[in-house]
Symmetry: D2
Subunit: 361 residues, 4 copies
C-alpha cells in the first residue's frame, strides 16, 4: 500500500475492504511521505518492520527483489491525487499490478500515459470508483443493458456534500487541505473529488458515454482556489440529455450521491444513502422497490475481490469468460474518461458554459 | 369563471379551492367555447340558467350591466393558455378584478400589455402559482428573508412528470392535446406548463431573481412539436447559481416538484409530495423537520382566500398594511417574469444553451 | 348541522368535505349549545338567520315543518360524543337521515338503541370513520377480499399522537377539554377518540372481526381521568393475531395512523401520513408502491359523497346494486362495533389485560 | 472460533467484524461438528492445519497447552443455540475469555450457571447483541440516561421478518432448519432468535428493566413446532408500558428492527434499516434527525473491539474507568435476562397471555 498512514481517511477503508473477504493480506507499505511516520503506521498494523518502507520507490524496488511467492501481489495507491501517477507508473514498470484510488491521475495527460503503459505491460489496473461495487448499481446496469428501460432519454446524477461550506482547509483539516490545493488535487476541486464519481456512475449504469457538456463551476468560499460547486448540462452519445451537479458547500448534505435514469419504457432511481434499494418505475404499473443487502464497505470490497480474482486468474494464465464477475471493476479507460471529464468541465466553465467535447483519444 | 366545463381538469380544482373557506360563491360562468356545453356545465353546478353564458364576452357584458351588489366580484380564468389574455383584458377593461391560471398569457408581449392594463385600471390581478400557497413554502421564504440561511449560494429546483412519455395527445386526451399544441400553449411545452412553476417557486422562496440562464430543451416524443424536457443552468442576481430541470417524459414521476436552497449558514429542502415537511439543515446540528398540515387543495385555496380578502379591502377602500397576508398572492409581475422565463429558455436552447437574460422591462 | 360553531375543529372539516363535490349545500344549523353563538356562527357562513337555530331540537322540529323540497335532506352531527345520540335519535324519529361523527354514541347501550332505531325507521345513517374514505384503503380492502394476500395472519395497527402529553385540558384548550372529560367523552379517552379509528380501519381492510382482546390502558398525565395510552393484543375471528396501540402522550407524533396486514401470500402497509401510497410486499418479488392522489379532505368528502348519493337513490326509490360505491360508507353497525370495542378495552384493562370478547349482539 | 464453517451465516459476519479494526486475528478454530468439514473450512481461511481442530474440546485443550503468547486470547462461539453453553463453559473453565452469539444459552438454567461461572473465574464474557453496537443506539441510551426525555412512559419495539412465512426448514435451508428445531433452538423460535434482540435493545436504550409481560405467541406455519410470531405487552420497572412484537412470517419484511421511546419531555425513534439516523421529537420544536455513519458490520465490530480492548486491559491488569467505552458490550447478565425473557414469553402465552414476571435471580 502506498499512502494511508496515520491521519489518513481512505487508506483504512481500503484496508478493511481488502481484508473483508479474507483473500487479501496487507504485506507491506509506504504509508507516508515521512519515512518515520510510514514505519510507525506500519507498526500499528502489526506489519514486520522490514516491510514498512520509507518511500514508495524503496518499496517497489525492494519488493521486486523478493522471490515471487513472497513479494506483494499488487500495489494499492491511496495517496492524494498528485501522487497517484508516480507510484502507479513505477509499479507497472516493475511488474506489479496496480489498484488506485480515483481520480486516476493528476491530469489527463498522465492518464493517457498510464493507459499506454497498462497496454504495453499487459498488467492489470483497477480504479476504485467504489459506488459501482454496489449490487443494485450492477443490477441497474444490467437492466439498462437488457433493454428493460428502452432507449435512455434522460439522466440526472447528483453528488452534493456540505463539509467544505467554510474554509476548513486553513483550520488544520488534512482532508480538506489537499483536496483544495491545486498542486495536490489537479485542475478540479469538487469536480475531481466527487464529480468524477457521478460521471462514472452515470456512464456505468447507462452504458452510454458523455459526448459533450456545458458547465458552470463556482468557487463560493473566499480564498479558495479550486471549484467547490459544479453544475453541468450533459449530452450523451445516443442523444440522451442529462444533468450532473455536485457540491461541497451544500450545508447538511453528507454523501448524497443519487441517480435517476429515464428511458422510453421505464425509469430507475438509486440513492447512495439507501444503497440497498433500487426504485423502478413503469408506465401504468406500481413502483417497484428492488432490495438487496450490502453496505458501503462490502461494496468497496467488491472492487478488491474482483480485482484479486482477476489477478489470480491472470497469474495462473487462466482465461476468464467475458461475463465473469471478476472482470467487473473500473479500469484505466475509466480513469482516462474521468480525467477528460474534469478537464472538459473546467474548460467549458472557463468558456462561459460553452459546449465542450470529452477528449479521450 | 371562464373555462372549466365538463372534461376539464383544473377548473374543478379552482372551484373547490374557491369554495373551501366558504367566502366565495360561484355565481356565473362561460365554461366552454361551445355555448351548449357551457350551459350544460353550469347546470351541473346548480347555477341559474340565465347566468350560464355562451361566451366570455357575453358574460362580461351581461354581468357589467347588473347592479353592483348582484354582479360577479371577479373573473376566474381557467382556460388553455391562448385564452388567458383575451378574457383577462376584457374583464379589466370592464372593471372586473381577475384571477388567472398560469402562465399569465400566450406570450411575453401579452403579459407586458396586461401589466400595463392592470396598472392603468388599478384593479387587482392574481395568478395561481398555487405552490406558493403552501404554509411551509411561505415559511421557507420567511426564513430566507430573515437571514437564517445567510447569503444564498445554490438553488436546485426540479419538476419531473412522466405522463407525456408517449404521444398521449393523439389518443383523445384533452389535457395532453392543448398542452402540446403550440397554438394553444405558446412557445413552451413542458417549460410553460410546469417549468414556470419551478421558476416561480425558486424566486418566491429565495427572493432572488434569475438574471440569466443557459438552457437545453428537447422534444423526445416523435411527432410532438413543443419541448417535453427542460434542463437549465441558472444565475441569480446575487451571484447564486442554480439548476432547474423539468420533464414530462420521466416515466413514473408524478408531480414531483422539489426545491433545495443552500445558503452560507444553512440549507432548506421542500418536496411537493410531502408538502407538510420543510427540511432545514445547519452546520454541526441535527437536521430539523418543520411540520404543518395542509394539503394541495388548502394551499390552492390560500391563493383564492388572500385574493378575495384583498378585493374586499379594495372595494371597501380599506388600506392593508404591507405585510398583510391578504397581499400574499402572485401578481401580474410574476406573470411577466414567467413569460420572460419561457421565452428566454426557448431562445437560449435554440442558441445551443447560450446564456440569455430575462427580458422583463 | 348540529355542532361545529366558532372554535370547533371537526365541524369545518365536515363542511369542506360536504361542499367539495358541490352536490351538498349547508342549509341550516344548530352550531352551538349557546343559542347566541349558534346564530353568530351561522351568520359567518352566510346562512339566512331564520335557519340558524338555537338548539338541535328547534332545528329538527322547524325543518320537519318545511315542505319536503325546502327542508334539509339530512342532519350532520359534529358535537362532542355525549351529544351524538340525542340529535341522532330525534332526527331519525322525525324522518331525517343522519350522518354522525364518531364514535357513534356515548356508550354501547345507546349505540344498540340507535341500531334498532335505524332498522325500525328504514332511514340512512353514516358514521365518519373518514380514513376508510381513502382510495388506497379501499384498494387494500379489495385486495384482501380478492384473496391476493391469502389468509390473513397478522395485523398491526397503530395511532400514536402526542398532543395530550401534558395537561392541555386545564389550559383552556376546548378540544382537549371535552376529550378528557368522561361526561362528554364516555368511558374511553384515547381509545374512544382514536383507538376506534384504528379498530375500524383494521376490520374494514381485512374484512375480519376482532373476536377478543387483552388490553392494558394507562393514564400517564397526572390529574387526568380517562386513558391517554392504549396497548391491546387482538385475536380475530379467523385465527389471525394482532396488535393495536394508540396514544395521545407520544410526543412529536401527529396523526400517525398506520396499518400492516400480513397474509399467507403477501403483506400490505398503509400510512396515513403518506395516504396516496399503498405498499405491497410479496415473496421473491420487488416491493410494490401503489399510488393514487387524494388528500385528507377528499377522503373525508368521499364519505359525504357516497352518503349523499345513497340518499338520492333512497329518496328516488332507486335500488342500488350491492357493489355500488354509494353504499361504501360506515354504518350504525360499525358504530356498535366501535362502542363494543371501547367497552371491551376498558373492561379488559380493568381486569389486568384479561381476554375479553366484543359484545355486539 | 467455534462454529462458522462452510454454509454457516453468522460466522463470516463475526470474522469480518473481528478483523475490521485489524486488532484481532483469527488463529484457530473448530468450525464444524464434522471434523473433516472443520479442517476444510479452516483451510479456506488460510489457517495453519495444526490449528484447525476437529472439535471444540480438542481446540480448548490443545490451545490451553500452548505458551500464553501463542495461544488464542478468547473463544468466539457462533454455533446454533444448543451448542452455546458447552464450549462457553469449557473455555471459561480452561482460562479463556468468551464471546458468544446470542441467546446466551439453550435455557435459562444454563444461563444462570454461566453467570455463576463467569463470576467465579473472573474471566470476561461478551454476548453479541450487535444492535447495541450502533453509535446512534448508544447515543439514544445516553440521551435517556442524561434525562433528555424525562421519565420514560412508553416503548414500542418491533422486529418483523418474513423469511419463514413458508416451511423453509424442510427444503434443505440450514439456517431455517436449526432455528425451528426445538432441540437446537430451545423453547423459543422467533422469540429466541429475534425477540431477544428487541428485548435487549429496549432495555439497553431505556436503562429500564421489563418487570412483567403478557404474551400471545403463535405458530402460523403448519408442521412447525416453535413459535414464528410473537406479540407481547410489557410493563417496565418504572411504570412505563410497552409493546414488543416480532415475527418471521411477515412477508416482505427483512430485518426491520425498530424502536420508539416516549418520555415526558420527548421521544426517540430508531430504525435498523436506516441505522445512521436517530429521530428526536420534542414538544413545540422541529423534529431533529441526528446522523452518523456506520454500517451493520462496523456496529458488529464495535462489540469485538470493545471486548478486545477490555481483554487487553484485563491481561495487563490495567483498571478501566467506569465510563470507558471498552466496557460497553453485552455481558452474561444480559444473557440471563434474554433467557428469562424467552421463558417468560413462552410461559405467559401458554397461560393465555397471563402477566408473568422475568425470573433473573
Amino acid at each position: 500500500m502506498v499512502g494511508g498512514g496515520r491521519g489518513a481517511f481512505i487508506g483504512a477503508v481500503h484496508r478493511i475492504a481488502a481484508a473483508m473477504d479474507q483473500q487479501i493480506d496487507l504485506v507491506c507499505g509506504a504509508f507516508s511521505s515521512d519515512p518515520e511516520k510510514s514505519k510507525a503506521s506500519g507498526a500499528d498494523l502489526f506489519l514486520p518492520p522490514d516491510r514498512c518502507y520509507g518511500t514508495f520507490e524503496e518499496m517497489i524496488k525492494s519488493e521486486a527483489k523478493l522471490p515471487k511467492d513472497q513479494r506483494m501481489d499488487f500495489v494499492a495507491i491511496v495517496t492524494p491525487n498528485h501522487m497517484h501517477f508516480p507510484p502507479a507508473k513505477m509499479a507497472l514498470e516493475n511488474g506489479f499490478h496496480v489498484l488506485s484510488d480515483k481520480p486516476a491521475t493528476f491530469n489527463l495527460k498522465q492518464a493517457k500515459q498510464l493507459r499506454d503503459l497498462v497496454k504495453k505491460t499487459g498488467l492489470l489496473y483497477a480504479l476504485t470508483h467504489n459506488y459501482t461495487g454496489y449490487p443494485l448499481v450492477k443490477q441497474a446496469r444490467d437492466m439498462v443493458r437488457d433493454g428493460k428501460l428502452g432507449k435512455i432519454r434522460k439522466v440526472i446524477v447528483e453528488y452534493p456534500q456540505g463539509w467544505l461550506a467554510t474554509r476548513l482547509e486553513i483550520q488544520g483539516q488534512k482532508q480538506a487541505f489537499w483536496r483544495t490545493d491545486p498542486k495536490q488535487s489537479g485542475a478540479g476541486g469538487c469536480v475531481g473529488d466527487i464529480g468524477t464519481h457521478a460521471e462514472n456512475l452515470a456512464e456505468y449504469i447507462t452504458g452510454l458515454q458523455i459526448k459533450e457538456l456545458a458547465a458552470d463551476i463556482t468557487t463560493f468560499v473566499k480564498g479558495r482556489v479550486l471549484d467547490d460547486d459544479v453544475n453541468v448540462l450533459l449530452r450523451f452519445d445516443n442523444g440522451a440529455k442529462g444533468i450532473l451537479h455536485a457540491s461541497q458547500i451544500s450545508i447538511g448534505e453528507e454523501n448524497n450521491l443519487n441517480i435517476r435514469v429515464h428511458g422510453e419504457k421505464g425509469s430507475l432511481e438509486w440513492h447512495q444513502r439507501e444503497p440497498n434499494t433500487l426504485i423502478a418505475k413503469w408506465p401504468d404499473q406500481p413502483v417497484q422497490l428492488l432490495r438487496t443487502a450490502q453496505g458501503y464497505l462490502e461494496a468497496f470490497a467488491n472492487i478488491y475481490k474482483n480485482f484479486a480474482n482477476h489477478i489470480r486468474a491472470f497469474e495462473a494464465k487462466r482465461k476468464l469468460p467475458a461475463d465473469d464477475i471478476a472482470l467487473d471493476y473500473p479500469r484505466i479507460e475509466d480513469g482516462v474518461r474521468g480525467m477528460a471529464f474534469i478537464e472538459a468541465v473546467v474548460a467549458s466553465s472557463k468558456a462561459n458554459a460553452k459546449w465542450t467535447k470529452l477528449d479521450t483519444k
